[in-house]
């Protein structure tokens, strides 16, 4: 039976106490977590090293200003951190961090990974007009009821991987009804246990409430179907694709917000894919017209080919799209089918090698015969 650190306080207060303990006790030198940046509810990731600043920390705040996996990668790109640092991440953020580490874009050494059973986050836009503040109470209400909170990002509404995979600790949220009375932190690893020693609250043995979780999973499954239909992507075809991406500015914001797109210079922004006059001429003669900048669909499908197997469906791409293309929904849909095919769940296991780096001689034998 798993060990749980139980703090007799509301979950938000409780986790802050725990973080305070980590920093005070000197068990960690710094804490990566969300911090208020202003009063209308904008938050940003910060590496907090001092208790005063920790007061402004809002680890569970339902916004994702940037995928923290990308942040941790930037933090450890040159080398692993020598001092221990705690990081509070959402499951999809840990997964993207792991995918990046697999690609040598960072190191997990000396990190204490704290995650939560994730209730999803609101679209970034809702932080702009302070709307998010109004939404918060509703959010926690619906989480207590084990429902999908309305107004959270479509991607989150349909996410089935809200239980973290490789976290040392998991803050129980979605499957706990009494989040406003107690804060339950599951200690998944020995590392987690060590760090929880002498922490406020008491260690108990408790199972995670699996029914609640499976229930929510199912709710999200059904929501997925619903949203696919609403967006008209459940049954795609060439014409609909053109339609969906018609508004694309080829600003490539999606790929730059994507934690998996780690390339220094994206293949699709390199000189090699820039049209030369001859290519324009040819296409113009063939079709009588050509869209400029060209290659919108090529970029998006090409990007799927590059990162689809590792897409964790974190939803950042949709959040930053200036023309509201449901990028994330489409990419995670493609990602799902690719990942099923390769029996690969991105970010689940650091040991599992990326489908491109390996193969099985016996697989897909029917193809090519």
């Amino acid at each position: 039976m798993p060990k749980v650190l139980k703090i007799k306080k509301g979950v938000e207060e409780g986790i802050n106490d725990f973080l305070k303990f980590l920093l005070e006790s000197g068990k960690v030198k710094g804490i990566f977590t969300l911090k208020k940046t202003n009063e209308n509810g904008a938050v940003s990731y910060s590496l907090i090293t001092h208790l005063d600043e920790l007061k402004k920390a809002v680890p569970l705040f339902p916004l994702m200003p940037v995928n923290a996996g990308k942040v941790l990668s930037a933090f450890t790109l040159l080398e692993a951190t020598k001092d221990t640092v705690a990081a509070v991440l959402r499951p999809c953020e840990i997964r993207s961090f792991i995918e990046l580490v697999k690609r040598f874009q960072g190191s997990m050494e000396n990190f204490l990974l704290i995650s939560l059973t994730c209730g999803g986050v609101f679209p970034l836009k809702s932080a702009v007009n302070g709307e998010v503040k109004k939404l918060l109470p509703i959010y926690w209400e619906s989480i207590k009821k084990g429902n999908i909170s309305s107004n959270i990002r479509p991607t989150c509404q349909t996410c089935e991987h809200f239980i973290p995979y490789q976290a040392d600790m998991t803050i129980a949220i979605v499957e706990k009804k009494n989040t406003d009375k107690e804060c339950n932190i599951f200690l998944n690893t020995d590392k987690g246990e060590n760090f929880a020693k002498e922490a406020p609250g008491d260690i108990v043995f408790e199972e995670m409430d699996t029914n609640e979780i499976t229930e929510l999973k199912n709710k999200r499954k059904t929501q997925k179907k619903k949203l696919y239909e609403e967006l008209g992507i459940e049954k795609l075809e060439f014409k609909t694709l053109i339609k969906i991406f018609s508004a694309c500015l080829s600003c490539h914001a999606c790929s730059h917000a994507c934690p998996i797109c780690y390339c220094t210079l994206c293949d699709f922004e390199s000189k090699i894919f820039e049209y030369k006059p001859s290519s324009y001429n040819m296409e113009l003669n063939q079709k009588g017209g050509i869209r400029v900048p060209p290659g919108t669909l090529f970029f998006h499908i090409g990007r799927m080919v590059h990162m689809g197997v590792s897409c964790v469906g974190c939803g950042m791409c949709s959040d930053v799209c200036p023309v509201n293309i449901p990028v994330s929904m489409i990419f995670s849909m493609v990602g799902d089918s690719l990942q099923k095919m390769f029996e690969y769940l991105p970010g689940k296991d650091i040991e599992e090698s990326i489908p491109f780096g390996t193969f099985k001689t016996e697989e897909f034998a029917e193809i090519g015969e």
């Binding site: 500015l249 914001a253 001429n281 017209g289």
Partner: protein, 415 residues
């Protein structure tokens, strides 16, 4: 150094007044269609509506039937025309004569990119239009029909309209005047022989036409030739347009002064300035949609800025906490220093910002100041070199530190 002169030369006194029964859009498209038929051009570069959607994309077209869905002046700026034209021509021109029709701010971006060798204009004829502004991209996306309606009303009244983008409300370069070289070109380095170097070749005036007529005027000699070839007589007076344009410009300039003042007050001082950007998530969209930011790989995205975890931790310890992603402000200020002299205030950066940071307006304030002090109006003149490409020995001496005297005094003391 002397400030910008507001007189312009070679502003066409006469042009062709075309009647627009079917609305100005139709009139413009008819003109363009004709120019294709008469083989003045082999192809047009113009925004076209993607079939059964409300999105406009730039299309290089030969096939006239595509003109039916084209819109020379769509309600929004999706991709900035300058950026579009540079993707089309940066690797050299095609063996085609192309006419590109754009908003003034887009034309000016084209000219800046032309100076930066990102656009080739050899086979390109630039046609500019009076611009009533554009709708915010996100508003349009969420409610295209309504926004389109509001936009089209503008053509009669030309009254500024709150649903326009803020940057458009204060735009005083909506017409030809911003596309003509000034007499005192502030360049020592270029010789002025045959100074036929306006930004656009043909201009289409709409102001003062009340949506019933359009004013077609040749600007460059190239433009003249084309109109001749089209057998369009340019004998009509342009007075209606001229007067209304001037009137509107003055009105807008006043408004602009007022609003910029208020805005300035809002952002001045480090605290306020930081507050403006504190929501920035470092997505760099502003840079990616910006026509002037033409670098394949932005310096601020390059890994050269990466440091080791220790450095970050020490930095964090010094200020009790360190925000990630890092250096958001460095990025904006850095980008500013790179492109602000060429900033044409087209506002696409603001349109693209997922956090609704009034970035175009902030850049506009700075651009105003900097460009004034260099007497530079980006994109008004094909031959005017970017200010940092040359210098004059006697300029800006006022900024030099006056240390000589003090030193000499000490010297005398020592003596």
């Amino acid at each position: 150094m002397s400030t910008v002169q507001n007189e312009f030369f070679k502003k066409p006194k006469k042009g062709a007044v075309l009647h627009a029964e079917g609305g100005i859009h139709k009139a413009i498209l008819d003109f363009l269609r004709k120019s294709l038929e008469k083989k003045c051009f082999d192809a047009l570069f113009i925004p076209v509506k993607v079939h059964d959607t409300d999105s406009y994309v730039w299309v290089l077209l030969k096939d006239k039937s595509l003109l039916n869905e084209a819109n020379p002046l769509p309600p929004v700026i999706s991709v900035q025309g300058g950026r579009a034209l540079s993707t089309l021509t940066k690797h050299g021109e095609m063996n085609l004569q192309i006419a590109a029709i754009m908003r003034p701010c887009e034309i000016r971006a084209v000219i800046e990119l032309f100076k930066l060798k990102q656009v080739s204009l050899n086979n390109i004829t630039l046609i500019s239009i009076d611009c009533p502004g554009a709708m915010p991209l996100s508003d349009y996306i969420s409610n295209p029909k309504e926004m389109a309606k509001r936009f089209n009303n503008l053509f009669e009244t030309w009254e500024e309209n709150e649903s326009l983008r803020p940057i458009c409300i204060i735009c005083h370069r909506f017409s030809l005047s911003s596309l003509l070289p000034s007499i005192s070109r502030q360049s020592a380095s270029v010789e002025l022989e045959g100074i036929d170097s306006p930004a656009s070749d043909i201009h289409i005036g709409l102001v003062g036409g009340n949506g019933e007529k359009i004013f077609l005027m040749p600007v460059s000699s190239k433009g003249e030739e084309i109109l001749e070839k089209l057998e369009i007589a340019t004998e009509d007076s342009l007075e209606d347009w001229e007067i209304k344009e001037k009137e509107l410009r003055d009105k807008k300039e006043n408004k602009r002064k007022k609003i910029l003042q208020e805005l300035k007050a809002k952002i001045e001082g480090p605290k306020k300035f930081v507050a403006v950007f504190d929501q920035c998530i470092n997505c760099h969209n502003c840079m990616r949609v910006c026509p002037i930011c033409y670098c394949r790989q932005c310096y601020f995205d390059s890994k050269t800025l990466r440091l080791s975890p220790e450095v970050y931790l020490t930095r964090a310890k010094e200020r009790k906490s360190l925000r990630f992603p890092l250096d958001t402000l460095l990025f904006h200020l850095g980008r500013m220093s790179h492109m602000v002299l060429s900033c044409v205030s087209c506002g696409v950066c603001e349109d693209a910002c997922p956090m609704n940071i009034p970035i175009a307006q902030v850049f506009c304030i700075v651009a105003d100041q900097v460009q004034k002090s260099f007497g530079y109006v980006p994109g008004r003149d094909r031959r005017e070199p970017p200010p940092l490409r040359f210098f004059q020995e006697d300029e800006f001496q006022e900024v030099e530190m006056q240390y000589k005297k003090t030193i000499s005094r000490e010297e005398t003391q020592n003596a």
